[in-house]
Symmetry: C2
Subunit: 393 residues, 2 copies
Amino acid sequence: MQDFVFHNPTRIIFGDGVVDQVGEQCARFGKKALILAGQGSARRCGLLDRVEQRLSDAGVDYVTLEGVQPNPRLSHAREAVALAKREGVDLLLAVGGGSVIDEAKAVCSGALVDHDVWEFYKGRLPERSLPLLTVLTLAATGSEMNGGSILSNAETKEKLPFRNPLSFPRVSILEPALTLSVSHWQTSCGISDAFAHLMEVYCNSPDPRPLLQLELIEGLVRTIRDCAERLMQNLRDLDARREFMWAATLALNGLTAAGSGATPWPLHMMEHALSGITDVSHGAGLSALYPGWMRWRLQNNGERLEQRLARLGRNCFCITESNDALAALRCITEIEDWYRILGVPANLDEAGIPREQDTEVIQAAARDAVDWGLKEYSAQVLTAIFAAARASE
Amino acid sequence: MQDFVFHNPTRIIFGDGVVDQVGEQCARFGKKALILAGQGSARRCGLLDRVEQRLSDAGVDYVTLEGVQPNPRLSHAREAVALAKREGVDLLLAVGGGSVIDEAKAVCSGALVDHDVWEFYKGRLPERSLPLLTVLTLAATGSEMNGGSILSNAETKEKLPFRNPLSFPRVSILEPALTLSVSHWQTSCGISDAFAHLMEVYCNSPDPRPLLQLELIEGLVRTIRDCAERLMQNLRDLDARREFMWAATLALNGLTAAGSGATPWPLHMMEHALSGITDVSHGAGLSALYPGWMRWRLQNNGERLEQRLARLGRNCFCITESNDALAALRCITEIEDWYRILGVPANLDEAGIPREQDTEVIQAAARDAVDWGLKEYSAQVLTAIFAAARASE
């Protein structure tokens, strides 16, 4: 097990009806909130009215800005920063999924500086932040309990992350019933995203034997697969929605990373380049790349991955094969089959991404790779990976 | 899965040489520390000198009080409170295991009130607390990352807990190499304690199907059993010390409880009565009571426990029996065998506790049961449990 620092100060309030606590929770941190929300569903379903009413009841003034897109845009974040400054808000309330929360993190720090928020993503980390609270409406990214944020710059077609201890939400309100109406497609993309977060650590951690972390990850994978099976049968299975929501949060709140070592995240690096250019859904971009990457990695210094995938296959995908090499390959096939059951693409062709776009994506990924600490991922290497992520015939 | 609030603000600094950060960490929270330590081993091994030097280097003044006993005593806590007040310290630094940290939590709040610290344990919860930092020297109780504290009152022979959000350590420094010299007995008691924390949730949670929490607990049980096997062969196995230290912390930091429901903790209630009177080591008291309690519970509304133990046996104790009733009984036998391999008692006779003391312990437990929310545990019920916790012949 590797050395680590673990500090996650986010307060999680999880359960039925907990959105009704949003007013009193906001009042603990400020007097005027910028409520940030997505593209209309939170208003249509009545959630935003409910949140605004609770803030009013608690004596918290607010201004609301909707319109955050999936793969949230720098342009909208700039608009939100300007509004936050103009209105003099002293806290942010994100009502939405990972995109809304990610953008809110930019706004929390952007409202306190004179420079452009994009600089945070170019390496100039925030030094201050307004308090952020969240009401989660989509289980997927884990942003509700971590300090990470990702924005897309439509002008440069860059999609970049920053991570910052200041950016952890102070309070995240998780009311699983809010996710009962999430579509089949978004549910599946969320499942794929949470699974991918677990796999980045599981497949890439440097330790020969981090038993504890592998155990935690495998437990979460089994849980997510069990929830997925129930949700594919009935999207309104509240028990499955509850369990999946907490599992997705735990999949990227630092728990699995602590002690696993500073693992590189090659799949997210590649997927950000992919969705920065094609605007594919994050969860679908990840599922389209993962099996190909795994096959490529098995053939290139893949001893560690072979062991891991053999173990994953046996412990989470019902594989009984005793030969590691065969079990690892079988595990990849099982993951592909599972992706197809979920309805997310298992390769770039199934994702509907034209082959002609590969070159542009590969160039973008090769450019980003250095910043991600993934120097190995040259254009040549990425070309091989993207070829492996194409349908075999 | 049940509703929950999860908030754990403790910063964990884990790894080789991290004790050298203790000065700078203390300096973040205050100017003068009360260093609290145990019965001499921290001084003898040079740790206390190293800690004091780092505080001096960081410009943090300090006063040191040693002498905290296992099953920490109210009388010593009172002495520490008086010293903290007299010296005007503004932070506490606990250097030790769970006993030192537990007492330090009492002192942190006791230093800020005029009344006796025992009142915290009698239901008058603290409203303020000095910041607490810890340097952990024994993996067992999880006190380094939770808000719980337990003290023993030698006059009344009471051993009582309090839990408080103010009492979470701000920073806990986990340097596993410090535990290399922990004795076989203390190591085994620590393993038993961490296992017991997992079992209280696993055996008692009300949900018919909290899959995620069971998965996390089983992963921790397998990890702890794996570490135990390595440590019983070689107490100086640093990898096993590292993995066990973090596993023991996670076993009682709120992670397994979140979503498991408000579970009663009958074993700890009974063990506190037991060690309050007999001064048996906490881990040994737990192992002496657990198998008997499990057998008693199986025969008294034990359907839930039967399912759980059958599952635990199959997933963590290599049991292949398909009949739940038989698998559950077999699991208890496996736990007893495992306790004996560790060298901790598997019943009250093996713990060397004379049968004549049972009546006094049962009376104390029956008195405490109401405060613990365990009304079912009348003297009559406890008599049956303690009889089941005696050697069968």
